[in-house]
Amino acid sequence: MKITMAHGSGGKATSELIQEVFAKEFENEILNRMEDSALVKGSQKLAMTTDSFVVTPIVFPGGDIGHLSICGTVNDLLMSGARPQYLTCGFIIEEGTEIDTLKQIAKSMAKTAKAAGIMIVAGDTKVIEGNGGIYINTAGVGFVDETIDISSSNCENGDIVILSGNLGDHHATILSSRLSIENTIKSDCAPLNDMVENLLENKIRIKAMRDVTRGGLGTVLNEFATASSCTIELQEEKIPVSDQVKSFCKILGLDPFYMANEGKMVAVVSKEDSEKALELIRNSKYGENAAIIGSVTQEEAGMVFVNTLIGGKRKIDILYGEGLPRIC
């Protein structure tokens, strides 16, 4: 069965859809009350975030838009050192969408939310004219310890930069799907609770931390470098990228430094903490390929560069647009 405009009328079809697709999957005591707003407990410093998800295709190797919409918001909360608690979701569904697809998405949202320890406490559904597309907005709330101070402006000379795993998997997966290229690349889409909790529990002093999503590692590190007025120096040979992604990117002229990921984070920690932090990340879920990829130096402020395999020093600028060839 497919979504029709009637499913968005607010009437019987709507409530049937909600009951059958969402309530079944998202069930919990707060949501079950079906009030106009969710009443939740909270007494600490709060972290709040929101994000909208518009990926095509909506189902892809390694995940789907539902999984993605939970991971994205959960990871954003985690990056400020928060423990994710509550989440709301809004669906904008185009007519023509298969209800089965919707069910699959709701299922994966529920599963991911559970894994990430976040409770879906409110939701909304709208139907628009169109051709089977789905757009999801999620907003999340998390609790943060007063003592935590994670900020992109905290990087200092000598600090170490750790990346939690291979770059480019998500981006390469989505592109492969869109280009109808068959390969075995899978999205890295994942919630990073385990990793962040391990770091926090073990009192690793995290100075700056970001999930490496749209804009890629290059963009994140440039934000760190600018906010902290420091130079970040990377070692190309240390940057983890799978061979398959590497060759896929190369021929398309894509730079893993600028490719999107959905289950990767980069953390800047003091040198003393770095080995332990790496160990902790590696022993966490989704962190097995983590690596120390560089360090903070003070040579020239606000810049990121990479020591390349052949020995040069390439500047990693912020991304300007689709790369025009510069080489003669």
Binding site: L175, I251, L252, L309, K313, K315, G323, C328
Partner: protein, 754 residues
């Protein structure tokens, strides 16, 4: 006018511009004048040598001719300006005392060891016997060690060595070759060699030299401090050593240059024409690409048909080459980085990499990095591939003067900039690709250095149109007026500037990549240029490529795009991915690049499908064409077609790959096909020139862009166009590739009103 035509006597005022002071130029003129039976005087005025000459017509012609051709060692004549003046009578030819005019800022490039110093170096009885820093007033380092003008002992990095009594005497004795030789030194007082061995242990002087020689002879790699920076050296005929050197340089794939002790030794390995011999022996002692006769191992110059050969330019190199024979001599750096000039950096590198066994250095500081210059003779023209040591900072003298000081940023690859004032365009040395941050900072530091040295403060900045060039982004930090010049327009303008061409010129600019005014990537362009104006008359047909910068390296990728364009099926692994990327417009761009066409044809012929270094594929294709010519093979007939789109001349590549495919299927040799491709390009260029000549009456043709480093293409087109009555010009003073575009930019900015 009433010339007093006393018998058949004529009078000339001659101004000689260049490095003509402090090098014994005036005595040279006196000698010349006396030999030619010329009377008059010579004097220094503010950086120029002024000559007043009187004689009969024959004597005068002879005198001027010789003045243009000859010079004392160390001198460098940039221009000889002459005009006839009213007759004056002189009884003799003498030196007049110079005025106190301000020195015009012309600084000598570094000079090679002169003949006399070389003799002394080998003379057991000379007090500088085997002294590796011997020099005199006509030789030795100059630009690389000068802090500021005037060129005095206290302003060069020799000032840390106080002169000994004997040197002092020579320095102040008008009768010696070392009178006021700022680089004067000897074993007693001057710089000396230091050896820094595998464990950091040091030896000095003779012992240091011997250590280095023994490591070299034992197949080791030594870093040697030379004029413009450090070199890595090893035996050219030791495969293991050269392999190690490639590793040390960061898996470098480019051919290495080889230094030989003399031309005789070069002739064992290469064919050397008399022009090439002259070039090898010229003051800059550049690397000259010479056709191989006999090869070292493949490790040295790979598949290249040429050896980049050069001669020693300083006493240390003279001695080392005599003791060790041909040495691979390459800039000390990891590939992509600038040549190292700091002792500490080399030491750090040695710490990190045990492949570097030792360092032979000294404590005289090098102030600016200067790579070895690289040239190639094409026809009878000397074409610059890289312009650096030995040429910089000599200005290019332009007909057209600029009142304002102009800074031209150049391009991003093979970056070099230009400061232009009055009739002088001072080009910086080659720096490298600006993507490397050390290259970037060398570029910036030297911009400041040159501005200070020559007292030039730019008021106008000019740069390329590419939105992502680092050279462009940098320029926007200044408050000066900014002018942006299209890449290929700058290429052609550089030819017009150096030849002082006037009127309309048809420019053919063939290269790899330049940002076009329509947002496409240009590179196969026919431009009508006159003064600062330009009109695109034609170009290579556009093709859509994908892969961004990767397309500049990956010839197979480009070939696939051409095949898709022609609708030819391909069974390549990547063809479906490339097709999808093109359909999806992922990282795609339109291009008329001639460089990419060469890459694609190279990949099509299955010669090589990836450029491990710039221009590799095009070079390999050229090699086949050269071999076809040498073996007198017939070119496989191939053709490109011309069509008109709204008046624009479109040189279409469509059908070319079907022709190549057919030729291969018919079993034609790759050499024949490669030559056929070259001839097809020559033919199409000729056709375009004839169309333009017919339609708008242009007979001046300017060639520029890296593609014209191709010997077959360039020699053929020049011959062909000359035969058809065209006047053909090409870059001879600045690099033909992107290293030369700063001159074109500067020249055009000078023509543009506010």
């Amino acid at each position: 006018r009433s010339y007093d035509m006393k018998k058949d006597q004529i009078s000339y005022k001659i101004n000689v511009l260049g490095i003509v002071q402090g090098v014994g130029y005036r005595p040279f003129v006196v000698r010349l004048a006396k030999e030619c039976n010329i009377k008059g005087y010579v004097k220094n005025i503010g950086g120029i040598v002024e000559i007043s000459a009187v004689g009969n017509k024959e004597a005068m012609d002879n005198f001027i001719h010789r003045l243009e051709l000859q010079k004392p060692p160390g001198a460098n004549v940039l221009s000889v300006d002459k005009k006839e003046i009213e007759y004056k009578e002189y009884s003799d030819f003498t030196i007049y005392k110079s005025g106190d005019e301000k020195q015009l800022p012309i600084i000598s490039p570094d000079l090679p060891t002169c003949k006399i110093c070389e003799q002394e170096l080998h003379d057991k009885n000379d007090r500088r016997y085997l002294y590796p820093f011997i020099s005199c007033v006509s030789c030795g380092p100059r630009y690389s060690i000068i802090r500021k003008l005037p060129y005095d002992r206290c302003n060069v990095t020799m000032d840390i060595y106080p002169m000994c009594k004997e040197c002092e005497n020579e320095y102040s004795d008008l009768a010696t070759r070392r009178c006021h030789a700022q680089t004067i030194a000897c074993q007693e007082c001057g710089p000396y060699l230091i050896w820094n061995g595998p464990n950091g242990e040091e030896e000095v002087k003779e012992k240091a030299y011997k250590k280095a020689v023994s490591v070299l002879k034992n197949s080791g790699i030594v870093a040697i401090k030379d004029i413009g920076g450090y070199h890595f050296a090893c035996l050219a005929d030791c495969v293991k050593a050269v392999k190690h050197l490639r590793q040390l340089k960061g898996r470098e794939k480019k051919p290495f240059a080889v230094m030989f002790s003399d031309v005789k030794q070069i002739k064992e390995y290469c064919f050397v024409s008399s022009k090439e011999e002259q070039l090898l022996n010229s003051d800059p002692r550049p690397i000259v690409l010479l056709r191989k006769k006999k090869d070292f191992s493949k490790e040295v110059c790979g598949e290249s048909l040429d050896i980049g050969a050069f001669l020693p330019c300083n006493p240390l190199q003279i001695l080392l080459l005599e003791d060790c024979g041909p040495l691979v001599m390459t800039s000390a750096n990891r590939s992509g980085e600038p040549i190292i000039i700091e002792d500490e950096k080399v030491k750090a590198l040695k710490e990190k990499d045990s492949l570097l066994e030792g360092i032979l250095y000294h404590t005289r500081q090098i102030l600016t990095p200067l790579d070895d210059s690289v040239l190639r003779m094409i026809g009878n023209k000397q074409i610059f591939i890289r312009r650096a040591r030995g040429y910089v900072p000599l200005p290019i003298i332009l007909k057209q003067k600029s009142k304002e000081v102009i800074f031209a940023a150049g391009g991003d690859l093979k970056a070099s900039f230009c400061l232009y004032h009055e009739d002088r365009a001072y080009l910086s040395q080659y720096f490298g690709d600006m993507e490397d941050i050390d290259v970037c900072s060398a570029y910036e530091k030297n911009k400041i250095r040159m501005e200070k040295l020559f007292h030039l403060t730019p008021k106008k900045n000019v740069c390329d149109m590419h939105p992502e060039y680092f050279t462009v982004k940098k320029i926007y930090n200044s408050n000066n007026q900014i002018i942006r010049i299209q890449h290929h327009h700058a290429h052609i303008a550089s030819v017009i500037a150096e030849h002082g061409l006037e009127g309309r010129v048809l420019g053919i600019a063939f290269d790899g990549t330049g940002y076009g005014t329509d947002g496409a990537i240009w590179g196969g362009e026919f431009l009508l240029c006159e003064k600062e104006k330009v009109k695109r008359l034609g170009h290579l047909s556009y093709i859509t490529l994908c892969g961004g910068d990767e397309a500049a390296k990956n010839a197979d990728l480009v070939k696939n795009c051409f095949l898709i364009n022609e609708g030819i099926e391909s069974k390549d692994d990547n063809s479906s991915l490339i097709k999808a990327a093109l359909d999806f417009k992922l990282n795609t761009f339109q291009t008329s690049s001639m460089g990419r066409l060469f890459d694609a044809v190279c990949a099509m012929l299955k010669i090589k499908d990836y450029n491990d270094f710039e221009g590799e594929c095009a070079g390999l294709l050229e090699n086949l064409a050269i071999m076809a010519l040498e073996k007198r093979k017939k070119p496989y007939p191939m053709r490109l077609t011309i069509s008109r789109e709204n008046g624009m001349i479109i040189v279409s590549t469509k059908g070319l790959f079907s022709q190549i495919k057919k030729a291969m299927e018919e079993g034609h040799e790759r050499q024949e096909i490669a030559l056929g491709f070259h001839y097809a390009l020559v033919d199409i260029m000729k056709q375009v020139c004839e169309i333009v000549k017919k339609e708008i009456g242009i007979t001046q043709i300017a060639l520029s862009g890296g593609v014209f480093l191709n010997r077959v293409l360039t020699e053929e087109i020049m011959k062909c166009l000359n035969d058809k009555g065209f006047k053909v010009y090409i870059n001879e003073k600045v690099p033909i590739g992107d290293g030369g575009i700063c001159l074109g930019q500067a020249y055009l900015a000078g023509l543009m009103k506010k």
